[in-house]
């Protein structure tokens, strides 16, 4: 494959986050995005356990167990930070005050339905955390995921078969192969990486895809990561 690595993908997502945005990075891969936010831009990170203005991990020796992120990792607070309780924090989210939230996914449907909290396996211990709140809470919900599962199945689907996290909530899907916008007409290829075309992506996903620009309909000329 000639697409983006996980780290390049994180950088690609970071490039779409404007200065001044209030952003929640979900646990797991989305936390990588923080490493690529330009240092000269002020972007305010929200962590749903009660902090706006989250900074990077502290040095060893300066870990503060009272100051953690939603993944329960030690973090720091930047000048301009504010603490609040859980009801206020999720009010912020549910009330639509966050600009962007970046989440992982098991599946995303053409309509933007998201499945990322349970594989529905019998005997699995269910845990949802803030996933359902995040899914419906931000002005834009970005999904960061691989296009295919390890078994080669598409994570972009006509209908999710895994239990849903939220209905019609995803705005955009970033994968190492392409970036897709969720539109009323289905998924639209916003940008294709490597040698991908709409046709090659349709073959991988089994979906009918729209093209954001004419050149995507034939071959992606652009270098991955540019926009």
């Amino acid at each position: 494959m000639t697409g983006l690595s996980r780290d390049e993908l994180a950088r690609r997502i970071a490039a779409d986050i404007p200065e001044g945005a209030y952003v929640n990075l979900g646990i797991g891969a989305p936390t990588l995005v923080a490493n690529h936010l330009p240092e000269d831009l002020e972007i305010v990170l929200h962590t749903e356990n009660g902090l706006l203005g989250m900074g990077p991990a502290p040095e060893d020796g300066l870990i503060d167990p009272d100051l953690i992120n939603a993944g329960k990792q030690a973090v720091t607070a930047l000048p301009g930070a504010a603490y609040f309780h859980h009801a206020d924090s999720f009010g912020m989210m549910r009330g639509g005050h966050l600009d962007i939230c970046v989440l992982g996914a098991f599946q995303v449907s053409e309509r933007g339905d998201l499945a990322n909290w349970s594989t529905g396996e019998p005997g699995a211990i269910p845990a949802v955390g803030g996933a359902m709140d995040l899914a419906i809470g931000a002005k834009q919900v970005f999904v960061m995921t691989d296009l295919l599962t390890r078994d080669g199945a598409s994570k972009l689907v006509a209908e999710c078969t895994y239990p849903l996290t939220g209905v019609a909530c995803v705005s955009r899907i970033y994968t190492g192969d392409a970036v897709f916008d969720v539109t009323p007409e289905g998924l639209r290829v916003r940008e294709a990486f490597g040698e991908h075309t709409v046709a090659s992506l349709e073959e991988l996903t089994g979906l009918t895809l729209q093209a954001a620009a004419p050149e995507l309909a034939s071959a992606a000329e652009e270098e991955g990561g540019s926009r």
Binding site: I63, P65, L67, I68, P126, G137
Partner: protein, 254 residues
């Protein structure tokens, strides 16, 4: 004189009855009232319903309470964690009932109990498995689920500093569920690092006014705090780093 302080954690948790619903503050280990939970284990109440964001980490706190077989049901958002082996074992063995609630609905339902709201419509969880059995309603074109308050007989909360009226300030993200749980329980029991004189807390920073608190007990500063100042020298679980404590304290300038 109003004096809600009690001398020890045993007195703080006295009278908690079998079958009680107990809210336990904290998000992971941050803000988890470990000393009060230890006292509750010692106290002996069983058949409890525990309302908390998580269902225990490692072998301490909520995990220890579960391991002792005191809990019938857990109401939480995220039981499964890398170190939730106690919960995992009991749940798989069918020895624990679980009510899974999305985290924001959990917080808002707890707040609703404290604020006297009969029920509310939340957009979270619409169209998912967790909507089953819940009334759905479309308001201004958006779908919502009817969510009911979660009340408790007792709340166990950890705060940073408190006074004899029960006013509390928290520290950083350890605030998490403390203020809303304190208001949602019939009896609220609080452990603080330090008790201070009445009037010593800034009235603008009091996140839990004493009206929501019944008992306060001082348990001493956490290892990463020294005389009210952050000194570090621990890992994210609060365990001392391998270096000697002296060098840790000395190195903690930030």
């Amino acid at each position: 004189m109003i004096d809600k302080t009690v001398a020890g954690t045993a007195e703080a948790v006295a009278g908690i009855a079998d079958g009680s619903t107990v809210m336990i503050g904290g998000f992971g280990r941050a803000g988890q009232p470990v000393e009060l939970i230890d006292a509750l284990i010692e106290q002996g109440a069983g058949d409890l319903t525990v309302v908390s964001n998580n269902a225990g980490n490692g072998d301490v706190g909520i995990a220890a309470l579960l391991a002792e077989g005191r809990v019938r049901k857990v109401v939480c958002s995220f039981p499964r964690q890398h170190d939730s082996w106690v919960f995992d074992r009991l749940y798989r063995a069918g020895e624990l009932e679980l009510e899974l609630v999305p985290q924001g609905n959990l917080a808002e339902r707890i707040r609703a109990a404290g604020a006297g709201i009969g029920a509310f419509y939340s957009p979270t969880g619409v169209g998912t498995l967790l909507a089953e059995g819940k009334e759905e309603r479309t308001i201004d074109g958006r779908r919502y689920l009817l969510e009911h308050p979660i009340r408790a007989d007792v709340a166990l909360v950890a705060a940073y500093r408190g006074d004899r009226w029960g006013n509390l300030v928290y520290r950083e993200t350890a605030r998490n569920f403390g203020p809303i749980m304190a208001a949602a329980a019939t009896t609220t029991v609080v452990q603080v690092d330090e008790l201070v004189e009445l009037g010593a807390l800034d009235p603008e920073s009091v996140a839990t006014p004493g009206i929501h608190v019944d008992r306060v007990v001082a348990v001493g500063y956490r290892p990463w705090i020294h005389e009210g100042r952050f000194v570090g020298g621990v890992d994210v679980n609060g365990a001392p780093l391998e270096q000697s404590p002296e060098s840790s304290v000395a190195g903690a300038v930030r």
